[in-house]
């Protein structure tokens, strides 16, 4: 690549520096907001799939199967182009005309609901990894099934799945790049835009890549700390990926 003309300083020039900062901010914001939908919703669905109640289990299974078997990009288009058409007219109008930040909020919703299906699977597998005898022991001492979840099964299940939840969070962080397809100016799209304006492709993409790697590294280190702190004495931590 001898003929390539390096131009790193351009990234610090106006307006490109600002583009990267705002893109990075949007990426982080989308990830955090989507996660705050995905974690509680996914937990509820994962729990639903382990209960004795058939209808609840069925609803949970359908949710997970639907969301994980449709490409995320197709889901993004469904939420953005299709759902407003199918809503009752008044709502549809509101979504199309008056809803603030439509692209941003749509991508948060889409990523949140999709990631919930992944979280649900982790929570379910964590709960299923706990021996049935634990459930019996809780019931035998008079706890209600809900109390058994609250005090016995969930505290252990969440500890088991810290590493997989970490990679799911990183998943939503990376997947936030799909928001660019409906016009959200997040990190990847800003890098692309800089490339188109300045032809400094390598510099722009490298910067974006570096930022993604940095966040990934920080999150993994932080979650290792969480895992260490919550480790049950006498057992061995599994270690985030």
């Amino acid at each position: 690549m001898g003929s390539y003309r390096w131009n790193w300083p351009i990234l610090l020039a106006d307006p490109y520096y600002g583009w990267i900062v705002s893109g990075f901010g949007n990426t982080c914001l989308i990830a955090v907001l989507a996660w705050s939908i995905a974690f509680p919703l996914g937990s509820a669905i994962g729990i639903a799939r382990t209960t004795e109640l058939r209808p609840l289990r069925l609803v949970g299974t359908i949710y997970v199967e639907v969301f994980r078997n449709i490409p995320l990009l197709a889901q993004m288009f469904l939420w953005y182009f299709v759902v407003p058409e199918l809503l009752p007219q008044d709502w549809g109008h509101w979504v199309k005309r008056d809803m603030p930040y439509p692209q941003f909020l749509t991508s948060v919703l889409c990523l949140g609901l999709y990631t919930a299906s992944r979280v649900a699977e982790q929570v379910r597998s964590g709960l299923e990894a706990i021996p049935r005898g634990q459930h019996h022991a809780g019931l035998a001492m008079g706890l209600t099934p809900a109390q058994v979840y609250r005090y016995v099964r969930l505290p252990v299940a969440y500890r088991i799945i810290i590493p997989s939840l970490t990679s799911d969070f990183l998943g939503v962080f990376k997947n936030s790049s799909l928001a660019l397809t409906i016009g959200v100016l997040e990190l990847t799209s800003q890098a692309r835009q800089i490339e188109e304006y300045t032809f400094a492709a390598f510099e722009a993409f490298a910067t974006a890549t570096l930022l993604y790697c940095a966040v990934t590294g920080i999150v993994i280190l932080a979650m290792r700390q969480v895992e260490r702190r919550t480790r049950i004495p006498g057992t061995i931590a599994i270690g985030a990926q």
Partner: protein, 219 residues
């Protein structure tokens, strides 16, 4: 948009959409094959005692896994022509991105499959007088493969869905052709629902099949 659904639009454009589906399937097949081959090499290197190889592979895997696939697609789409000095069709630049990207995921699955075989099994095999290679061939790999095949297949279903991301470079896969028709005929509802349902049926059936395999061959 002229009220009501018009599913005839799907029939009118069937050949065009089918062409997109063919490209999606080709891309998936080639990327899975290439990704598996490279992933196997990476996994073996990672478990080997060749100096620096395990660390280098770990670095490669962690690097690619921290990056969004879309960004990887942009990297290769933009840089391969610059690096090679000639224009490469977007199909090949995307294919290379997918192979390099998926290989990182496959290699981890293969490595986990091999590591999942308990050490006691190797000890028992060696104690019977089997050589290292024989222990690998007759004891470790048969168990490892059974453990990893369902996961590899599941990852390949994910890969099939991920190919839709070629949309960002305008390659005409299934989703992109549907998107083109949706725009041209102003029928986004029908087209995007059709794409979603098609993937849902295909991927759901495939994952059912994987589950059945997993249950039948579970150790």
């Amino acid at each position: 948009m002229g009220g009501g659904f018009d599913f005839a639009v799907l029939i009118r454009n069937a050949p065009f959409l089918w062409g997109g589906m063919v490209l999606t399937l080709q891309l998936t097949a080639l990327a899975v094959t290439g990704g598996l081959a490279l992933g196997l090499v990476l996994a073996v290197l990672r478990l080997s005692r060749i100096p620096f190889a395990p660390a280098l592979v770990a670095g490669y895997v962690n690097f690619l896994r921290s990056m969004p696939l879309i960004l990887a697609i942009f990297w290769f789409y933009t840089l391969i022509p610059k690096l090679t000095g000639q224009s490469v069709s977007s199909f090949y630049s995307v294919l290379i991105a997918f192979i390099l990207f998926e290989a990182a995921y496959y290699s981890e699955i293969i490595r986990a499959g091999i590591s999942s075989v308990r050490r006691g099994q190797i000890a028992a095999a060696l104690a019977l007088g089997l050589s290292n290679a024989q222990a690998m061939r007759y004891v470790v790999l048969p168990q490892a493969i059974r453990n990893m095949i369902p996961v590899l297949l599941t990852q390949s279903i994910v890969m099939l869905q991920d190919t839709s991301l070629v949309y960002v470079v305008g390659l005409r896969d299934f989703l992109t052709t549907a998107d083109i028709v949706a725009g041209r005929d102003s029928r986004p509802v029908e087209l995007y629902m059709f794409v979603a349902l098609t993937f849902l049926v295909v991927c759901f059936s495939a994952s059912r099949l994987v589950n059945r395999l997993r249950r039948r061959y579970a150790l």
